[in-house]
């Protein structure tokens, strides 16, 4: 196996491969940073192109697109308050306030560097212990996923801000929206009103674009008569990475914890990067000495989200390579890309395609480096976005959102849903109902329902059911504890906020 390391490295050190990696990362960043276009879409578009390439060229290109796409989301998240991809939702929580404080350069620098660190940590885990972790991951069955989804849903309380009722309303709205279409397990049509297009349900992407991008546009329309103030503070000179070494060191535990969360969520098929970012964010907040500062613009929040979502890449590659199980849409396409080139993921991959596997590892490492360089050089350019008047910028974003919506499944239907979600999102803002719990509910509701229904089927066969599943019991107990504590803390915070507002 070790004999494959050097040939693997050499295969990637080919100038054409390196060129494809840089181009792939660049294109990925572009797709990631534009609201509406995602890493998945970049891979969809380029997958057929890679069919005709040399194996290592094709696979490296896809990996580069993946790395660039996941990381690129942070740019729009920080500068525009619009997550470029679902996995950068949590980056907006502190990234945007930082940018509003005039520290956009710092926020971007932190995001980029910790994206890089997260990717590398994920890669290390992938290289060192992937077969072991993969065998743990398959132990997750319906009971485990069901309780995990329940646990993640309890995050709504922490992410909701001061008004718990409104947070829960939002979360439930998300769960309800996700029930449209074919039901899990029995494929019954729900809330389709005879419209064929509704059979497929709503996609996360259209909800995300609608709630975050279109609402930004509508909000800006409110200010249309006000004179435009150029955001002069974005002219702050950025030296090096935009933040100090001391700040980097202060985040080391946060980075490791967030990356670990990202890797774990990445390994478990079907959960996805959006959740890992939010989980890492709440973990960082709950364990912080100054949780009240989260959401006001501190780097801890950006670090948590960005380390986690990029670490998830290495995590998602673990079941992909060692089991042939894709965890999300992006890795499902990578699987197709591997199989075309006769790299068959599975338990024998190291024996059969050792050189290619190490090629993949090195391609991932080089992609991370390319991402770091491209984005660090790019910060000064990205930041100029803030100087573009919003009445010019936002219509362009709106067009891109429509393109993204069509690109999702080549359907006009998705464009209409984006617009409708945009209007709903705006009304929710007016009602002071937060958006994030809605996304959380939308993603986790179906995971919970599917696995709950499967668990019920299993329980009918094996009446011991739940009792024989210690991991599931653990999740359940933790969920109860988390709900208890976060309710208590949430009340305290709300009371504090209220007091400070009254004084």
């Amino acid at each position: 196996m070790l004999a494959d390391v050097i040939p693997g490295l050499m295969s990637v050190l080919d100038p054409t491969v390196l060129f494809f990696i840089v181009v792939g990362v660049f294109v990925g960043i572009v797709f990631g940073s534009i609201p509406g276009l995602t890493a998945t879409m970049a891979i969809v578009m380029f997958l057929p192109v890679t069919y005709t390439m040399e194996p290592i060229e094709g696979v490296s290109t896809l990996i580069a697109l993946y790395v660039g796409g996941i990381s690129g989301g942070l740019i729009a998240a920080i500068l525009l308050n619009i997550p470029g991809t679902p996995s950068s939702i949590a980056t907006t929580f502190d990234g945007t306030p930082l940018a509003r404080k005039g520290q956009a350069g710092k926020a971007l620098g932190v995001g980029v560097v910790f994206s890089f660190c997260g990717t590398i940590l994920g890669l290390l885990v992938l290289v060192l212990v992937s077969p072991l972790l993969a065998s743990v991951a398959i132990k997750f069955g319906p009971y485990e996923y069901c309780t995990l989804a329940l646990f993640a849903l309890s995050l709504v309380i922490t992410l909701t801000g001061r008004d718990l009722v409104k947070g829960l309303i939002s979360g439930l709205l998300g769960v309800m929206l996700a029930t449209v279409g074919l039901a899990p397990v029995d494929s019954a049509k729900r809330f389709t009103f005879g419209m064929v297009d509704l059979n497929a349900g709503f996609s996360l992407l259209t909800l995300l674009i609608g709630l975050f991008a279109i609402t930004e546009v509508i909000k800006a329309a409110e200010d249309v008569r006000k004179p435009f103030k150029a955001e002069v503070e974005s002219n702050v000179k950025i030296k090096g990475f935009g933040f100090s070494w001391a700040e980097f060191v202060s985040q080391k535990f946060n980075m490791v914890r967030s990356s670990a969360i990202g890797i774990v969520i990445g390994i478990l098929p079907g959960i996805g990067g959006a959740i890992s970012g939010m989980l890492a964010y709440t973990a960082a907040k709950n364990q912080s000495k100054y949780p009240e500062k989260f959401g006001t613009g501190i780097i801890d929040g950006v670090v948590a989200s960005e380390s986690a979502n990029n670490a998830g890449i290495g995590g998602a590659m673990i079941p992909l390579l060692t089991l042939g199980i894709p965890g999300d849409a992006a890795t499902a396409m990578l699987l197709g890309g591997l199989m075309v080139h006769q790299i068959a993921p599975g338990p024998l991959i190291f024996d059969k395609s050792g050189v290619e596997v190490f090629g993949i590892f090195f391609a991932l490492a080089f992609s991370a480096i390319a991402m770091l360089c491209l984005e660090l050089f790019g910060i000064k350019i990205f930041i100029r976005v803030l100087k573009v008047p919003k009445y010019l910028l936002l219509p362009v974003i709106m067009v891109l959102c429509v393109i993204g919506a069509i690109g999702n499944a080549n359907r006009m239907f998705d464009v209409w849903t984006v617009m409708i979600f945009g209007v709903i999102g705006y009304l929710l803002i007016k009602a002071k109902i937060p958006h994030v719990p809605m996304i959380l509910g939308f993603i986790l509701g179906p995971i919970f329902e599917l696995n709950f229904r499967r668990a019920v089927q299993h329980a009918q066969i094996d009446p011991t059911g739940f009792i024989g599943h210690p991991i599931a019991i653990c999740f359940f107990v933790v969920t109860v504890i988390v709900i208890f504590f976060s309710l208590r803390r949430q009340r305290k915070e709300a009371a504090l906020l209220k007091a400070s507002e009254e004084s």
Partner: protein, 322 residues
């Protein structure tokens, strides 16, 4: 709502093709052909569509652009494009199993006859009936006997309503097998994971996904559900040889055109497709590498007969599916 629906169809029609319909038979094709793939990028239906489109480009001399319109097991694309302009510039690539099982389960209210059939152009490497290597049964008969001995204890992981579920129904109705059928996901990879993780005892998944596990000795294939043994795996018997004659599930890749597409067009494309599939060595190699497929293409008449047969087979189980 009606207005919205009209706007929707209008918008869809506008975006897809505003192409001139008139053409003389011998000038077809003279412009880009839009090929709609009913399943997502990276899967086998998509791979076959993209491969044949690439080869068709060379053959027909015009671009053949594949667009994935995904959702609800292909039914979204099929519904949306069945009434598309029938000028031969919109083709639909799908798999016959989705077409038939969607109709049988009531997901769609139409079958292959809502389209002009261009032809079946490929056959998947076949779903295999899989158990973990340490399972006490070595063939289908032993497995079915075991389920009768301890009814409702051996779990068969299927996609409820999908072809794997129908396979379970066939075993139940024909051979009185007593599996406890549970949902383990519409994606073969998901069902493999469940099998490996010990959450289910038996499952059905494409050979491509199981191959590595069969070779590494973690999983056993009891039989293939194809009507004939896969040339790449001559040792794996078919289910019909193993005592369940009706257990035949062939996933066929098929090209369709909107209803009313002139016969001259469908015949021309069918001829081109058959020529590629049967005679192009590059094509042969590519489908073998990706999916262990061997060339398989039928004439229009044979394709229709095959689709009809598969539809009747599926429809006879429709009462269990709705």
């Amino acid at each position: 709502m009606k207005k919205f629906a009209t706007a929707l169809t209008l918008a869809a029609a506008l975006t897809v093709a505003a192409a001139p319909a008139a053409f003389a038979d011998d000038t077809y094709p003279s412009q880009t052909i839009n090929m709609i793939c009913s399943h997502g990028a990276g899967g086998d239906t998509d791979y076959n569509a993209r491969l044949i489109s690439r080869m068709l480009e060379k053959k027909l001399g015009v671009s053949v652009v594949v667009n994935n319109v995904t959702g609800a097991n292909g039914s979204i694309a099929l519904t949306q494009y069945k009434d598309e302009k029938a000028d031969g510039y919109t083709l639909i690539a799908t798999n016959a199993m989705s077409l038939a099982s969607n109709e049988a389960s009531g997901l769609s209210d139409f079958g292959y006859d809502a389209f002009e059939v261009i032809g079946i152009y490929g056959k998947q490497c076949g779903e295999n009936l899989l158990v973990r290597a340490d399972a006490p049964y070595n063939n289908l008969e032993e497995l079915i006997a075991a389920t009768q001995k301890d009814p409702e204890t051996i779990t068969l992981g299927v996609a409820m309503g999908g072809s794997s579920y129908i396979a379970g129904l066939i075993m139940q109705t024909e051979k009185n097998a007593k599996f406890a059928m549970v949902d383990a996901g519409g994606d073969g990879a998901e069902r493999m994971t469940s099998l490996l993780g010990g959450h289910i005892d038996v499952t059905i998944a494409p050979y491509t996904l199981a191959k590595e596990y069969i070779e590494s000795g973690k999983v056993k294939s009891l039989c293939t559900l194809m009507s004939q043994r896969l040339p790449a795996t001559p040792d794996i018997p078919t289910a019909s040889e193993s005592g369940v004659p009706n257990l035949q599930i062939d996933t066929l890749y098929v090209l369709l055109a909107p209803k009313g597409t002139p016969a001259a067009v469908t015949e021309k494309v069918n001829a081109a497709v058959q020529d590629i599939v049967n005679n192009d060595p590059e094509y042969k190699q590519a489908i073998m590498d990706f999916n262990f497929q061997t060339p398989y293409a039928l004439s229009i008449a044979d394709s229709i007969a095959r689709l009809k047969e598969q539809r009747e087979h599926m429809m006879s189980y429709s009462k269990y599916l709705q």
